[in-house]
C-alpha cells in the first residue's frame, strides 16, 4: 500500500549569469530559482494494483518515484509505504520495494551479471531456496539465462534492461517502481517486459507503479492511470473513464472514390467531423450523441465507401488532447 499525501518537492538552483563575470557573480549572490517539480499531489495505491504514471517530459514523474523509494526527501508532505516513510526509514522500506530506472543501470558495470545477482542476494538476505526459485522464474519470464555470465557492459540495451528488471525483483518486493522500463526497446522486448510485469503481478501480487511514454504499455498493463502535468495531478482514475472523458469518441477511416473530398462531401450532422488524410476520409464523432449505425450507413450510401475501419480513440490521443487544452489555458492566462 502506497499513500502519498500533499507531496511537494522544490529544487533550488542558483540563478546563473552568462560568461565568466556572470559566474563570478553567481558565486556571491544568494538568489535562487525555484523549480516546483512536484506540487502538492495526493493519491494512494492499494496492494496488487498496476498504476500507470504518465505525463509530459519534466512533469515530475521521476521526482515522485525518487521520493517514493527513498532517494529524495520531500520538501513537504509525506509518502507512506506500508505505513513507513521511505526517506526516514530507508533501509526498512528498501527491503520491500524494487526500483528500475530505465536510463540508469543499478548493476555493476564490469562484472558478469550472475556475480551482480550474487551480491544482491547477500544485500537483500535472500535465502538459497528463494534465490533459486526466483532465478528460475526470472530466467523464464525475462529470458536472461543466456547472458548471465557476460559482464553488464557487454549487454545490449534490451538485455541490460531485462537484467535490471530481474535484479529489482530478486528479493520479491511487494512494490515495484518502474521508471520508463521500455525506453529504447524494440517491440519484442517491450512485449517480453510487459509479460514479465504481468506475470509478476499475477504470481506474487506485486503492486507496480510504472512511468512510460509508450501508451501501448499503459493500455496493456494498467487498469488505472495518474496523469501528471507541471507537478500536479490532472487525472487519477480508471483507464476506461479517461478514454470516455471526451465522450465515446470513434474514428471511421474510409477508402472512398477519388471524386469524394472532405470539403465537398454531403453533410450528415454537425456532430460528425470530416477530414482527409492520405487520400482517405476520416469521420470523428461521439458515439453517445449519434448512433454508430447511422454514421456507417451514411458512409456507405452518401460517401460510397469501399472499405472501412472503425477505431476507438487511443489513450495517447486523449492524453494529447488534455495536455493541449491545459497548455492553451495556460497561454490564455499569461
Amino acid at each position: 500500500m502506497i499513500e502519498v499525501n500533499d507531496l511537494t518537492k522544490v529544487f533550488r538552483k542558483p540563478i546563473r549569469g552568462n560568461g565568466l563575470s556572470g559566474m563570478v557573480k553567481t558565486l556571491f549572490s544568494r538568489k535562487y530559482d525555484e523549480v516546483r517539480a512536484v506540487d502538492g499531489i495526493s493519491f494512494s495505491v492499494p496492494d496488487g494494483e498496476i498504476v500507470g504514471y504518465i505525463g509530459a517530459n519534466g512533469a515530475g514523474k521521476s521526482t515522485t518515484i525518487k521520493m517514493m523509494c527513498g532517494i529524495l526527501t520531500p520538501t513537504s508532505g509525506t509518502v507512506l509505504i506500508d505505513g513507513v516513510e521511505p526517506y526516514r526509514k530507508r533501509r526498512q522500506v528498501a527491503q520491500h520495494i524494487g526500483v528500475v530506472f530505465g536510463q540508469k543501470t543499478q548493476l555493476w558495470w564490469d562484472i558478469p551479471l550472475i556475480e551482480s545477482f550474487k551480491v544482491l542476494k547477500e544485500i537483500y538476505q535472500v535465502s538459497d531456496a528463494d534465490y533459486r526459485e526466483r532465478m528460475d522464474f526470472l530466467g523464464e519470464v525475462l529470458d536472461i539465462t543466456r547472458f548471465l555470465s557476460q559482464p553488464v557492459r557487454t549487454l545490449s540495451l534490451g538485455e541490460r534492461m531485462r537484467a535490471d528488471l530481474a535484479a529489482s525483483m530478486l528479493h520479491n518486493p511487494r512494490i515495484l517502481f518502474l521508471d520508463e522500463p521500455t525506453i529504447g526497446m524494440d517491440v519484442l522486448v517491450k512485449e517480453k517486459i510487459r509479460l514479465a510485469i504481468r506475470a509478476l503481478n499475477k504470481t506474487y501480487g506485486t503492486s507496480v507503479v510504472l512511468t512510460t511514454h509508450d501508451m501501448t504499455d499503459i493500455e496493456n498493463l494498467c487498469s488505472r492511470i495518474i496523469l501528471l502535468e507541471k507537478g500536479s495531478i490532472l487525472y487519477d482514475g480508471p483507464l476506461k473513464s479517461l478514454k470516455t472523458r471526451f465522450g465515446n469518441i470513434k474514428t471511421l477511416t474510409l477508402t472512398v472514390p477519388a471524386d469524394i473530398h472532405a470539403e465537398t462531401a454531403p453533410v450528415l450532422s454537425p456532430e460528425v467531423a470530416v477530414s482527409e488524410e492520405d487520400g482517405r476520409l476520416l469521420l470523428r464523432f461521439d458515439a453517445d450523441k449519434i448512433a454508430l449505425e447511422q454514421v456507417v450507413q451514411y458512409a456507405f450510401r452518401d460517401l460510397r465507401a469501399m472499405d472501412m475501419k472503425i477505431a476507438e480513440i487511443s489513450i495517447g490521443d486523449v492524453v494529447k488532447t488534455i495536455l493541449e487544452q491545459q497548455e492553451a489555458e495556460h497561454a490564455e492566462k499569461v
Binding site: Q92, V119, E122, I123, P151
Partner: protein, 263 residues
C-alpha cells in the same frame, strides 16, 4: 556479523571487476612484483631526497616519513571510493543505487572498492621504518611499539573520518573534492617532525587536523621517549572515536540532502 560477511562479498565483487581488466594472471602477478620492487627502489631514492632537517639525522627523518605512510596506506586500502563520491558521483547522480538498498549508504561506499595498491605503500612504509630503525640507536620499549601500532591503525580511522566528513559535504554542495584534497594534503606536513614547525601549525596539527597527534607524537615517543605511550595511545583512540562518530553523524545529516539528477 552480517556486515562483515557482506563486506567480503562486496570486496570480492570489486576484485572481480579489477580482474576483468587483468584477465592474464601472469601479467597481474608480474605487475604486483614489479610495483613492489619499484617501491623498494623508491625507499632508496626517498632517503636520498629527504633533506636532513634542523638537527634531525637522515634515518630519523626517514623514520617519520616511513611511519606516516602506515595510516595513510591503511586508509587508502579501505576508503578510496570516497574520492569519487566527493569529486564525481554525487554530482552525476550516480549514488541512486546505494539509496535503494537496505544497507547504510556509507557502508556501501566503503564496500564499493578495496584498493590493493595500499598494500604496496604499507610494505614500503614498513620497510622504510625498518631500514631507518636499524641505523638508529633506539631503546625499543613495549609501550612504544603499542603506541606506534595504535597510531597507525587509529590514525587511519581518523584520516578516513576526515575523508567521510568532507565527501559528505558533496551532498550539499554537489562537489567537495577540492575541499577534501586540501584537508588530505595536511597529512604531508605530518611526514616531518613536528618540532620543525612554528607553534601555531604545530597546534593545528595536534588539535584540529590531528595528523601530528598520531604520526609525529608516537614517533617522538619511540625515538626520544618524549611522551607517556599509554596516555598517548588513549588520546589517539579517544580522538579516533570522536572523529569517527562525528563523521558518521555528518554523513547521515548530509545524506538526506542528496538530490540525484534530473535524468
Amino acid at each position: 556479523m552480517r556486515y562483515v560477511h557482506l563486506y567480503f562479498t562486496c570486496i570480492k565483487r570489486s576484485m572481480i571487476s579489477r580482474l576483468e581488466y587483468k584477465k592474464d594472471t601472469i601479467v597481474a602477478l608480474f605487475s604486483f612484483f614489479f610495483s613492489n620492487l619499484c617501491s623498494l627502489a623508491a625507499i632508496y631514492f626517498i632517503l636520498q631526497a629527504i633533506p636532513a632537517l634542523s638537527g634531525y639525522s637522515l634515518p630519523e627523518v626517514g623514520f617519520f616519513y616511513g611511519f606516516s605512510m602506515l595510516p595513510i596506506s591503511l586508509d587508502h586500502l579501505f576508503s578510496d571510493e570516497f574520492w569519487l563520491v566527493a569529486y564525481r558521483r554525487v554530482k552525476d547522480g550516480d549514488m541512486d543505487m546505494h539509496f535503494l538498498r537496505p544497507v547504510p549508504v556509507m557502508f556501501q561506499v566503503f564496500a564499493e572498492t578495496f584498493q590493493p595498491e595500499g598494500f604496496g605503500e604499507l610494505i614500503l612504509g614498513v620497510a622504510l621504518i625498518t631500514v631507518c630503525a636499524l641505523n638508529l640507536t633506539v631503546n625499543v620499549t613495549f609501550g612504544a611499539i603499542v603506541v606506534l601500532c595504535v597510531g597507525a591503525v587509529f590514525g587511519a580511522i581518523i584520516i578516513t573520518s576526515l575523508k567521510v566528513a568532507m565527501s559528505a559535504l558533496a551532498f550539499i554542495f554537489k562537489r567537495s573534492g577540492p575541499l577534501l584534497q586540501v584537508i588530505y594534503n595536511f597529512s604531508s606536513y605530518a611526514k616531518y617532525p613536528l618540532a620543525i614547525y612554528p607553534g601555531l601549525i604545530r597546534a593545528l596539527l595536534i588539535f584540529v587536523l590531528p595528523f601530528g597527534l598520531f604520526i609525529s607524537l608516537p614517533v617522538d615517543t619511540l625515538l626520544y621517549g618524549k611522551y607517556n605511550p599509554w596516555l598517548l595511545s588513549l588520546a589517539i583512540i579517544g580522538c579516533a572515536a570522536v572523529f569517527f562518530a562525528l563523521a558518521t553523524w555528518i554523513w547521515t545529516i548530509c545524506e538526506r540532502r542528496y538530490e540525484s539528477t534530473g535524468s
